[in-house]
Amino acid sequence: MVAACNAYEGTPLSETITNLSSIARKPAKFEGKTVQLDGHYLGWKHASCNFPKTFSSTQITRSDWVFSDGKRCCFVTGSAPQGLDPATASPVAVRLTAVVKQKNAKFYLEFVKVVVQN
């Protein structure tokens, strides 16, 4: 017998789908939470980025890379997506899963995973 239980199968979505502006408005609400964001991987090139004030100057290491959701940008630390070139990458559409963290009253994202979007 095949049980009709599709509605209960699968892993429940543990990430909060949001955007950087929402995090920037109420960073405390998101701190420590895993979030999912759609946007672009910019690598180390972010001269034209619009960083929210609560995200600015939160580059933790020299290897941190930049994510843009189209309106805002922020640094992502902890690890790097395999196969994407931070030095010379053109923007790559990605779905980013990350944990919101805080340092010096400013927020950044800690890498969990990236899925390159078609």
Binding site: W44, S63, G83, A87, T88, N118
Partner: protein
Amino acid sequence: MKKRLLFLAGCYLAIWFFLTAPSYAQVAEWTFMVYIDADNNLEPFGITDLNEMEMVGSTADVNIVVQMDRAPGYDNSNGDWRTTRRFLVQQDNDDNTLSSPSLQDLGEVNMGDPATLTSFIQWAEMNYPANNYALVLWDHGGGWQKKKAGAGMGKKALVPYRDPGNAFKSLPFGGPSAGNPIRLTGVPSTKQFPKSLQQIQRNTTGRYDILKNVCSDETDGDILYNHEVSGAISSSGVHLSLIGFDACLMAMIENAFPLRNLGDVMVAAEETEPAPGWPYETILTELINTPSMTPADLGSTIVEKYGLYYDAAADPTTLAAIDLSLISNVAQALDEFADAITANGNLWDAVDQIRQQADKYYIPEHKDLWHVADLMPQISTDNNVVTAANDLKAAVSSCVIDYYSYSPDYDNSRGLAIYFPDATNYNAHYGEVSNGIDFMQQNGWDEFLISYFDGAQGNGEPGDPVIDYGKDIYEPNNNLALSYGPLKNDIYYLGYLIDDKDVDIFRLEIPAVSDISIGLEVPADFDLYLIQPDGIDYNVLASSEEYGTIVEEISGTIDPGVYYVAVTTYDNNVSQSNYTLYVNGIEPSGEPVVYNTALSYDFGDPGYYIWGTAMGDAAACLYQLPSVPAKLNKVYFNIQDLDAGGLGGDGTFYLFAADYYGSLLEDTIRQLTPPDTGWIYVDLSEENIFLFGDFLLSVMYDGFNTPGLGYDTTKSFGNNLFFSTDYEGGYDEDPGTYFIRAEIEYYVSGLSTGTPPEILEPDRVVAFPNPFGDNADLKYTMKRSGDVEIFITDMQGRTVTREVLRNQPSGLNTYRLIGKDLSPGIYLVQLTMDGTVYQKKLIHR
């Protein structure tokens, strides 16, 4: 008047000397050079660090000299200059404003160019002589990865492959003349080239493109690679007392080993560095206060001050000072450690545990080397392995002068990392010795990794690297030197792009003016380029970059010459699928073509076959030529002494050719005196040896001194490595890179000697793969629509299948032969179309 001119000239010289020469006439104790590549998003931190240096400033004993390149868009402070300037750092008390006068403004300079680094070192030595020189490379640092896309675009000269035998010179024709340009109807490329196509510009001397890197210049799209750093320092002629990397991830044995003769101490981090980098104020204050400190003292001071700074900040990081004079001892101990594990043969699960447990970093394939050795005795009781592990730990401990780590994750980190991936994440180019990293050339860690991958099967690890070259037998045809070819009419070349950084290059020789068509059948958005080197650079003559289509095509009239066809993609998501490349319309020439395979060998070229004989083991490369007799003129191959035990006196080398099925062509057998290592040339041009179609060139060895063939030292002639004792089907195969090069002369039309054999136009029918396992695709080209009969028999004449395919469309068609119901052996395929019978032999494994 003359005296006045001399006086004025003397005044100018005096002013110039005053402005540019050091303020301190004496030889200083230290000249501390910092190469700040802030032409990227780290620009604000570059400004901060230079300000930190100014809090100390130069003294009579210590020159602090800086070359700094800035970027547009990241920091507009301090005048927002965006060029490259040189400074002798002067003391001030303002930690926000730069006050040191610029001694030179070099304009925009490519800091990723090794010549720029060499120039800076030489300038500093000439103007600020000292008893000790420290060089700090300040910027991003990277890990083992493919060469950065776009690196060197338009900046570097293309160097044609010329070793050995000046391959280009042997070609009978040159490029198109200025007055007789190429005429093609392909769409000229107007947009930026794909990243993968850019990289071939700089990567044309056979080097592979995974190198450790530092100093990313965003404006110039360039970066310094491992061999470029060592090359730049070597070219400067300046011995460095200390080489520092104020950059992430550079404390690796692969990075330290090439610097062993260029400096005394290396300072670098296994982990990423916090964005502010080194605390220059405290480091330089200590140096100014004690200018007599030794290189080791300075290394320890940097580590100590860095630790104090980041302990307070609670930032997880590492730093170590490494004695470069002892790095060879570490490499030797590592080899002995790997050899002991390999000799045991039953420790691959333990190796796997160690790989998973060892301290790792931002790039998780980087593992702490001391910790790797430390874990082994906890798992294995093999005395040889335990002794080797302890020796390796001791070697690392002696080599690391001082280290710092802050984080529970780095409790077992001792300052020196190594690339230690699992099979899934292994970069298949790591072990290629032609990548310019002499650690791999002189040590056996890459071979150990391969053994581990094979040995760890059943432990959740795949047995082979993730890159499946079986899908693309032409790989790694990633640059002009390694291009596959020459392409022939109506052959269907099945290729495979690993990702959007992969580029497949095929060589195209046009003997006479031709109306050619180059087609590419693709699963999605691939692109096709026709390119031609001009000795300095390369030009894109035509391209087809249709978006999302499944056929890309370039067609038109082309003049005689040597060209290259490049296949690539912008889109990483559409790679990892097979594509089909074909060319037609190449007109023959009445002149003989000298085909020098030095331009087309590699990774099996395109197959690689080894078969056992009574005489010993052999390696062979398959060559595919048009179906006309080809005169074998010269053969050359490279021998390496893998076990360093010498080659002479033990065995004999044999050179011979065989047909596609491994049948020996007896008149080609040559017995060769056991050679020294290096290139072995065999001149057969006076012996009128003719070969036909597909054939194999083989080098065989019947001794036990394990010489290696070619540059791939993971493969040897050792009887245990090559020879498969379950050989039954006429050959065995082993992936690897073998270098048996041949200079072969043939006439594209007409024959110079002998009687032409019957030609069945086999090129209109292609079988792939062949030999095959699960299935084989017969690809055939119909000039017009019609019926096709396929008749397959085994070698005893028994019918396997006979079927008529009705109303097949014109153009390329495919028939799939399923192998699972077939016994291993040779099968004869007869394909009848357009009133002609075409035959193919297929080998089923």
